[in-house]
Symmetry: C2
C-alpha cells in the first residue's frame, strides 16, 4: 500500500527563497548567523543565495560576500541559484560555492518569460546548452526541475501531460547527451498542488522513468504542504526542498500576499518525518532555534508551527 522511505533528504532553501521575496534587505550579519545555526542542525544542503541580477533581486546582491563569511561545516553543501550564464559564471568564480548543476523546465510559458525572459520552448532547448556548459566545467547535472508542476498563477491549472512532456524531453536529452538521469524534481512553485495530484504525478513519472530518483519542491501557499509531502513519501519520494520557518516564495510568481507564499517549513517537515519514524539526520531543536532566529530577523510572525508549539520531546521526557 505505501512505500515510505527510511531516510529523507531535506534541502534548506530558506536563506535564498526566504529573503528574496521580502521587500527589505536584511543585515548580512543576521543572515550569516542564521546560516551558521542551520549548518549545525545536520542539514546537508543549504541554498545560501542566488547570483541573479541585483537590479531585479536587490536582496541577493551580497550573495558572494555571504559565501565568504559563513562558517562552513564539513559535509554540508552550500549552494546557490543562478538563472543564466552570467549568474553561473559568478557562482563558479565566487568563493566557496558548492555548484549543484541543475536544469529548469517551465511548462508555463508566461512564468518562463517572467522568470527567464524566454519562452517555455526556448528554455527547453537551452537545457541542452546547460548540459554542455556543465560538462565543459567537469560538472554532472544534479537535478532537473519542472516548475509550476500543478498550476500557475498566470496560466491556471497545468495539465499533467505537459509536465510529463518536459520530463520526457529531459530523459531524451540525457540519452542524447549521454549523461545520467538527474533527480527529477516536481516543483509546486506556486502552491497549486494537492496530495492526490502529487501521487498521480509521481506514479506517472515512475512509469516513465522507473529507475530515477524523484524529489519535490513544495510551497505551502494553501495549507496542504505537509499533506503533499506525506503523500509523496508514501510513494517513496525521499528528497524535499523546504524553508526554515516556512519562509519563501518566488518574487515573480504573482502572489498577492508574499507571506502566504512560503515553502513548507523545514522544522515542520523534519518533525513530521520524526513522528513517522523516518530518519533525516537533522536535529529538531537546532532547527527551531534557527526558525526563531529567522522570525527575529524578519520581525513578524512566520508560518512555521513547530517553531511556536515546540516538538514533543520535552513532553515525552518530562513525565
Amino acid at each position: 500500500m505505501s512505500d515510505f522511505p527510511k531516510f529523507v533528504e531535506i534541502h534548506e532553501e530558506g536563506p535564498r527563497e526566504g529573503f528574496q521575496i521580502e521587500k527589505k534587505v536584511y543585515p548580512i550579519e543576521e543572515r550569516i548567523e542564521l546560516i551558521d545555526i542551520l549548518s549545525d542542525s545536520g542539514l546537508k544542503r543549504i541554498q545560501v543565495g542566488s547570483f541573479v541580477s541585483p537590479k531585479y533581486v536587490p536582496q541577493m546582491a551580497d550573495t558572494g560576500e555571504l559565501f565568504q563569511r559563513i562558517k562552513r561545516v564539513d559535509g554540508v553543501k552550500y549552494t546557490a541559484l543562478w538563472l543564466n550564464d552570467k549568474g553561473f559564471r559568478k557562482a563558479l568564480t565566487a568563493h566557496n560555492v558548492d555548484i549543484d548543476p541543475r536544469l529548469l523546465f517551465y511548462p508555463s510559458d508566461t512564468f518562463s518569460r517572467q522568470n527567464n525572459n524566454a519562452s517555455s520552448l526556448e528554455m527547453r532547448e537551452k537545457q541542452r546548452d546547460w548540459i554542455r556548459l556543465y560538462k565543459a566545467e567537469g560538472l554532472t547535472v544534479d537535478a532537473a526541475y519542472v516548475m509550476t508542476a500543478f498550476g500557475c498563477n498566470f496560466e491556471g491549472d497545468i495539465p499533467q501531460e505537459r509536465v510529463l512532456d518536459d520530463f520526457r524531453f529531459l530523459l531524451n536529452l540525457c540519452e542524447e547527451e549521454d549523461i545520467p538521469v538527474p533527480i527529477l524534481i516536481i516543483a509546486d512553485t506556486m502552491g497549486w498542488g494537492n496530495p492526490e495530484a502529487a501521487k498521480r504525478m509521481i506514479g506517472a513519472l515512475r512509469d516513465m522513468a522507473p529507475g530515477a530518483r524523484i524529489g519535490m519542491h513544495i510551497h505551502d501557499t494553501r495549507g496542504m504542504g505537509l499533506a503533499i509531502m506525506y503523500a509523496a513519501m508514501s510513494m517513496g519520494v525521499d528528497m524535499f526542498e523546504s524553508s526554515i520557518a516556512g519562509l519563501g516564495g518566488c518574487p515573480f510568481a504573482g502572489h498577492g500576499h508574499a507571506r502566504a507564499a512560503g515553502n513548507i517549513s523545514t522544522e515542520d517537515a523534519v518533525f513530521m518525518c520524526q513522528e513517522l519514524g523516518i530518519e533525516t539526520g537533522i536535529d529538531l531543536d537546532t532547527l527551531i532555534a534557527a526558525a526563531l532566529k529567522t522570525e527575529a530577523i524578519i520581525g513578524a510572525p512566520l508560518m512555521g508551527r513547530v517553531m511556536h508549539s515546540g516538538g514533543l520531546k520535552s513532553y515525552r521526557q518530562g513525565k
Copy 2:
C-alpha cells in the same frame, strides 16, 4: 487503495474553541457578526459557545446572549458545549440552542481531572448517567469523543489500546442502554497525531465497530493537521471539526503558546476538499470573509493559509 468520501461534513468550532483560549473577552457584537457570516457559508453546524463556569472560562459567560442575538439560518444547527449537568441544564433552557448530546472519554487521567475534575474511570462511568439524562429529555446521543487520542501534554503518548478501550466501553454501553452507536470521534485535542497514527487508529476502530461512522477533531498544533485529515479521508472518514482561520485550543490543555494550538482551519480544510473533488456544500469565499473578520477581531495574524493566499477560483477564471 483509498476510499475517499464523496461528501464531507465540516463542523465549525471557531466561535467556541477560538475565543475561549484567548485571554481577552471580545465584543459580543463582533462575535455575532462573525457567526452570521459563518451561517451564510453553507456550514450546517456551528458551535456558538459553551455553558461552562464563567469563573474558569470568563470568555464564554455571554453564550446565552450570543444564542439570542445571532441570525439563525434554516438548516444550520447552532450548538454549544457543556461539561457538566449544570452546563447542560443551562444549554437546555437557553434560547435557541440546538442540543447535540455527546459523550466524552478521557484516556488521559490528568487531562480528565484538569478538564472535568474527575478521573478517567469516573468520567467513563458518568457517561452512563449522561445517556440516561439525554434519554430522559427525549434526546439521542449524537457523538462520542475520545479526547487526546494520540497524546497528551500531561501524560505523553497515549497508547492506541487505551483509546480503543474507551471506544469498546462505549460500544458496550450503547448495547446495555439500548441506544444506537453515535458518531465515533477521534479527538487529537493537543496535536500529537500524525497521518499514519490516524490511519492505524481508524483501521482498528473500523475493525471494532464496522458499521459506525467515524469523525475527527484535529488540532494543527504542529503543522500536520491537513495531512491527518487527508489520511483520514483516504480511509473514508467524512466528518471533521475545524475552526475558522485556524483559531482555537483548549485553555486547560497545557499548551505553552496559545496561538500555536489551533484547530485545523475551516477554510483550508474546505479548500483541500474542493481540490480533491470532495463536496462540502460550503462556499470558500464566504469562509475567507469570515476568517478575515476573525483576524480583525483578534487583531493579530492568524494561522489559516487560504485566508491569506486566496483560493484558486479567481486565477482559474481569470485565464
